[in-house]
């Protein structure tokens, strides 16, 4: 039996080669079919470099099928049948049968001799006609789909550019963060890394510009907060150092610092004032400017959406001027900059304080700067639907309507509600209804067919309100 199996080895190799060819033919048909399906799907979903993907899919399926067919073990019986089909008259397959005896021995010898004489090239692969015809049909369909105009191609290329922009921006942010880390204390480094890590994760998960901008906005705020905290701590240290060194000052901060002039009158303020004479004081150093990471984030925002970037530029410019920023002039948090918050509030764009979206809008409008959105939302009086359940409020409300935000004469935007004037102690249950407000406004914004940016403006508005409530 061993000699028979040995004699079958060339036949097995031949069978394996034939299987590879048959597998390649079948794989070609399957690969082209898969590529055609991919191209058909590309008419509904944008697929970047769809031609390349089609070629890769076809090649991969073809190779895998061919390799799988060739790697499948060839049984001796299969090889024997293939040899017998070439005129061996069932010698090979009979030789593989169990049995002893003189005639069996003679039969096996006869079979081995016949196998050695056999020209294995006679063992041909089974007809691949059907596979090749299928491949031809799929190839024609694929060609038609590749050549047909595809509306998704533009979206795909935009997506590709979008992804490339994000990748480039992420690299820049990483580089900037590395440089910023060198100047930060240890715990701030961790915080910075967390912010950049979260940002990168959010950017990778973002599906469009809106998602990316939301992520960048979020990161910007966190970076600004980090910068404020870092600056505040450094300021404290610097003030301490200046206090130890002594000196008198006018106690009046200059505008360029954007510092809280209301807090003057004490030594700190004097020191502050003295410190403002030149750039070399510890306070100046501590006040510092915007972080490079912030700049990188702003740059990425500009790259993703020029209009959003300019708004961010206005913000960052304001922050740079002040050296500090605050969330809102309405926060009343007593921070040094807050006292001067009215400045930002009053003068608007480039006011030197961080501001709400509303303030920015007002500032932007006043200064002629760019406003969010493709078009200016119209300020108008409208009656809104009831958006909270009076029964949830212990006190019955007489007026259940609110007025829309409107510009006051001085350009500030005031929010007016029904009973109560936006105060936490008012009869409006802010804590209970704010989420309802936000949800209903979001739905209304959808119905109004606003742009993404305008919707984002609505969302940000309620986000800030919620933060104020916190």
């Amino acid at each position: 039996m061993k000699e028979v199996i040995k004699a079958l080895r060339p036949v097995k190799n031949r069978v394996r080669r034939n299987r590879f060819l048959q597998g390649a033919a079948a794989g070609l048909a399957a690969g082209l079919g898969a590529a055609a399906l991919l191209q058909a799907a590309a008419f509904f979903v944008p697929v970047p470099d769809r031609g390349l993907w089609a070629a890769a899919a076809a090649a991969a399926v073809c190779l895998l099928t061919a390799a799988g067919a060739a790697l499948r073990p060839v049984r001796s019986r299969t090889a024997a049948e293939a040899a017998d089909d070439c005129g061996l008259e069932e010698r090979a397959i009979t030789a593989l049968e169990e049995g002893d005896g003189e005639i069996r021995r003679l039969q096996r010898e006869d079979a081995c001799a016949a196998l050695r004489r056999l020209d294995v090239k006679k063992i041909r692969p089974k007809s691949a006609r059907k596979s090749l015809l299928a491949a031809l049909a799929c190839g024609i369909v694929l060609t038609v789909l590749l050549l047909a105009p595809n509306a998704q191609d533009r979206k795909a290329s935009e997506q590709k550019i979008f992804r490339q922009t994000l990748e480039q921006g992420e690299k820049e942010i990483d580089r900037a963060a590395e440089e910023d880390e060198a100047a930060l204390p240890e715990e701030k480094k961790t915080e910075l890394r967390k912010i950049t890590g979260d940002l990168k994760r959010d950017l990778q998960a973002s599906r469009d510009e809106a998602d990316a901008l939301i992520a960048l906005d979020r990161a910007e705020k966190r970076l600004e907060k980090l910068r404020e905290q870092t600056a505040g701590e450094a300021m404290g240290v610097a003030e301490g150092a200046e206090g130890r060194t002594g000196g008198e000052g006018t106690g009046q901060a200059k505008d360029s610092s954007g510092s809280g002039s209301e807090n003057s009158g004490d030594g700190k303020a004097s020191a502050r004032g003295d410190g403002q004479q030149g750039a070399g004081t510890p306070r100046d150093a501590a006040a510092g400017g915007q972080m490079k990471t912030q700049n990188a984030v702003s740059a990425l925002k500009t790259a993703v959406n020029p209009s959003a970037g300019q708004k961010a530029g206005g913000q960052s410019g304001a922050a740079a001027q002040s050296g500090q920023g605050s969330q809102s002039s309405q926060s009343g948090d007593g921070s040094p900059a807050a006292g001067a918050g009215g400045t930002g509030q009053q003068t608007g764009g480039g006011a030197g304080t961080g501001s709400t979206n509303l303030e920015e809008k007002a500032g932007g409008r006043n200064s002629g700067g760019h406003v969010m959105g493709d078009r200016d939302p119209e300020f108008r009086e409208r009656q809104y639907e009831t958006i909270y359940d009076p029964e949830r409020v212990e006190t019955a409300l007489q007026d259940e309507t609110t007025n829309q935000n409107r510009l006051s004469d001085d350009g500030s935007v005031q929010l007016e509600t029904g009973p109560g004037r936006g105060e936490t102690n008012g009869s409006v249950p802010w804590g209970e209804v704010l989420q309802d407000y936000a949800d209903t406004e979001a739905r209304a914004a959808d119905r109004e067919n606003l742009t993404v940016r305008e919707r984002q403006w609505v969302t940000d508005y309620y986000t800030i309100l919620a933060e104020q409530q916190d």
């Binding site: 008259e89 009979t94 049968e97 039969q107």
Partner: protein
């Protein structure tokens, strides 16, 4: 027989077979397929039913076969008045020194090669007397069984033309024939050769090639030829395909047959295939051997139904359709 002897008999088989064929060819012109079937049946140890018009040389063929194989040959002309004792033999009263005694007189069945000419003319009773000889290679007369000489086989002939006054062989008897061979009318060239052979002086005579012992050795060697499982399965599927009640039977079988071949047909198919394989110089049975033996093994074991008769189908046509419908693998 020892394996070694079997082996050497198998190695010599093809050469001996060819010599026998050549020797028969000296006195027989044409009829190559008939001769081959006859030889295969003789070596396989079976009986053959020859069907053909008179004058085709059926008797001569059997006589030549007996000469070449060096086997005693007897011929029985079956007639309607033939009695069983006429062929088996009988006890006759003879005068001996001690007085009168019965002595068994062997009939013509007691020969190695028996030619039963026009077997369908004899009565069923006489036909039945042949059954035991064909199957058991023995004859029972007056309660005493007497063995017939080995090797032993019966070649029966029947005339397809004369139907009047004939007694068709029953299926049970037909089933005992290994082959039914159709003897065709010679072609023009063959007729020329036949005529030349009979009138020419010094026409060659067939001589002895092998004897009884060698024939038995060839038979034993053929029995040990191996068959691969798929090949055997093919033979069995062919037999099953002739049964109309079978689910997998081809359309022709279901439509035109009353009943199909018995297990004897499967045995016949395989035994003849083994002989043919050795005759071709192979030590294994091939699909080709089965295909060659199938028509001769099966044609006399099938029964056509009325639909076949009305459709004008004969056994050959139906059998050809069945064989074409059964794949080898």
């Amino acid at each position: 027989m020892s394996e070694q002897k079997q082996g050497s008999a198998a190695e010599r088989f093809a050469e001996q077979y060819e010599r026998i064929r050549t020797e028969i060819g000296k006195e027989m012109v044409g009829q190559n397929e008939v001769v081959e079937h006859l030889l295969l049946a003789v070596i396989a140890g079976g009986n053959v039913l020859l069907e053909g018009v008179p004058g085709l040389g059926k008797t001569h063929l059997v006589r030549v076969l007996g000469k070449v194989l060096d086997l005693p040959f007897s011929r029985i002309q079956f007639t309607p008045d033939l009695m069983p004792a006429d062929i088996t033999g009988t006890n006759i009263l003879v005068r001996t020194e001690e007085g009168n005694a019965f002595r068994f007189q062997e009939g013509p069945l007691f020969s190695s090669i028996v030619l039963a000419d026009e077997i369908n003319r004899a009565t069923p009773k006489t036909q039945a007397a042949l059954l035991e000889a064909m199957q058991e290679h023995a004859v029972t007369v007056a309660g005493e069984t007497r063995k017939l000489p080995e090797p032993y086989f019966v070649l029966a002939t029947q005339n397809p033309v004369e139907q009047e006054g004939t007694y068709p062989l029953p299926e049970a008897q037909l089933d005992r024939f290994l082959f039914k061979v159709l003897v065709p009318f010679p072609t023009l060239e063959e007729l020329n050769a036949i005529v030349d052979l009979t009138v020419k002086d010094g026409s060659s005579e067939a001589c002895r090639v092998i004897g009884a012992e060698e024939l038995l050795a060839m038979r034993a060697a053929a029995r040990s030829v191996p068959i691969a499982a798929p090949v055997q399965e093919y033979a069995l599927r062919l037999v099953l395909a002739t049964h109309p009640e079978n689910d997998g039977a081809p359309e022709a079988a279901g439509k035109y047959l009353r009943f199909g071949a018995s297990p004897r047909a499967a045995q016949a198919l395989l035994s003849v295939s083994r002989v043919r394989a050795l005759a071709r110089g192979r030590y294994n049975v091939a699909y080709d051997d089965i295909r060659f033996a199938a028509p001769a093994c099966l044609r006399h074991r099938l029964a056509l139904n009325f639909e076949a008769v009305t459709a004008g189908k004969d056994t050959e046509t139906v059998l050809a359709e069945i064989l074409a419908a059964v794949p080898e693998k």
